[in-house]
Amino acid sequence: MSPAWSADGRRLAYVSFENGRSMLYVQTVESGARQLIAAYPGINGAPAWSPDGRFLAAVLSKDGNPEIYIISLESQTVRRITRNYAIDTEPAWSPDGRSIVFTSDRGGRPQIYRYDIPSGSVTRLTFEGTYNARASYSPDGRMLVMVHSENGKYQIATMELANAALQILTDGSLDESPSFAPNGRMIIYATEAKGRDVLAVVSVDGRVRQRLFQEGEDAREPCWSSYYQ
């Protein structure tokens, strides 16, 4: 669950339930070697790489409820950055490494918030719709893509950070797991077609949409890698 490639494409962080509960691992692709990063009581989830590959933002509920922490991969130290009785989850770093956006329901329903790393301040970013979650940055840092819901449907939307303009790109009802392609022009996401979980891509302006069909198993949680061209 929640696979995340490091920026250099050499390592993959993910959540595994192989021991009966969630634990965070980092695996090096070439050697296959695997390192256990977090196995605290409760949730260990939602890993997100810092742009320089030295840190993982993650969600741990070891201190009572799900909060965002920054884990140093070199020193294994853990720094807590949210302090709130609500659910704080799904962190994602900005390309310049100065911000982390995350999902929080501290306002009653899940919305997107931004944590400014230098100052430690938290600001709410989304105000449209009853549900905004799982935000991530475009490669140029100017937009977010997220799961958005109003009227009971779950769709993919982008938001320009400069003016908070929200644009809904898809028209499914159970769309999830969006992420920008490295070229910044397409977004891949998971959707449901004919009762199966399939992947699809949509252009950033929303005009072109295409489903990626494959035989056999359902597919979920796509994640672009920059390493394999």
């Binding site: 999902t103 799961v147 819901s149 159970l174």
Partner: protein, 193 residues
């Protein structure tokens, strides 16, 4: 000489034979327990789940160990009694909510009473959500639901080490449809003994 030996042996055999005839016979009723534990057994079967002795420990409260008690009812383990509130192990939740429904409170508290009186028994509380929304948020919501049930048990005095909270989020759904009929079956916490 021969005659004295034969007389002695005949005498011995006669003594032995007479001894056999006077050995006391074992009657079938000799190991029946007194009537008092029987009434205690009846009360134990009727009680609401978890009060007093449960299951195998109840069997030791009447009769000598290993004895056969004919005609008495067998004590059911309250965990295996379909009429006991403890047979309800799944609790359902409203969309995006982790508050326990009012109908479920008394059943959860029955589990709490059982766990308080059996401090060596441990349970897992598995929390789940329906498929809508993002996966990691649902992992957190599933945990919140399981923790709501855990909090109620802890308030009753159940030990922290008797409870293990695990969230599966939207994984391992109970129902696979993409409609409310399925979704409501997936928004749940399951108590596993």
């Amino acid at each position: 000489m021969k005659n004295r030996i034969s007389i002695l042996s005949i005498t011995l055999i006669a003594i032995l034979l007479s001894a056999c005839e006077t050995m006391p016979q074992k009657g079938p009723d000799s190991n029946l327990s007194s009537s008092e534990p029987v009434t205690a057994v009846d009360e134990g079967v009727v009680s609401e789940g978890g009060q007093g002795a449960g299951g195998s420990s109840g069997a030791e409260s009447f009769g000598a160990p290993g004895s056969v008690v004919e005609g008495q009812p067998v004590i059911a383990n309250p965990l295996e009694d379909p009429a006991s509130p403890l047979s309800q192990r799944t609790f359902y939740f409203d969309f995006d909510r982790s508050t326990i429904r009012s109908d479920d409170r008394s059943v959860i508290m029955a589990h709490g009473e059982y766990l308080v009186t059996h401090p060596n028994v441990r349970v897992a509380l598995n929390g789940y959500t329906d498929e809508r929304g993002s996966r990691e948020y649902n992992l957190a919501l599933g945990e919140q639901r399981a923790k709501s049930v855990a909090d109620l048990l802890l308030l009753q005095g159940v030990g922290k080490d008797q409870i293990n909270v695990v969230s599966y989020g939207e994984e391992r759904p109970a129902a696979l449809g993409h409609d409310e009929a399925s979704w409501q079956q997936n928004r749940r916490v399951v108590i596993v003994y």
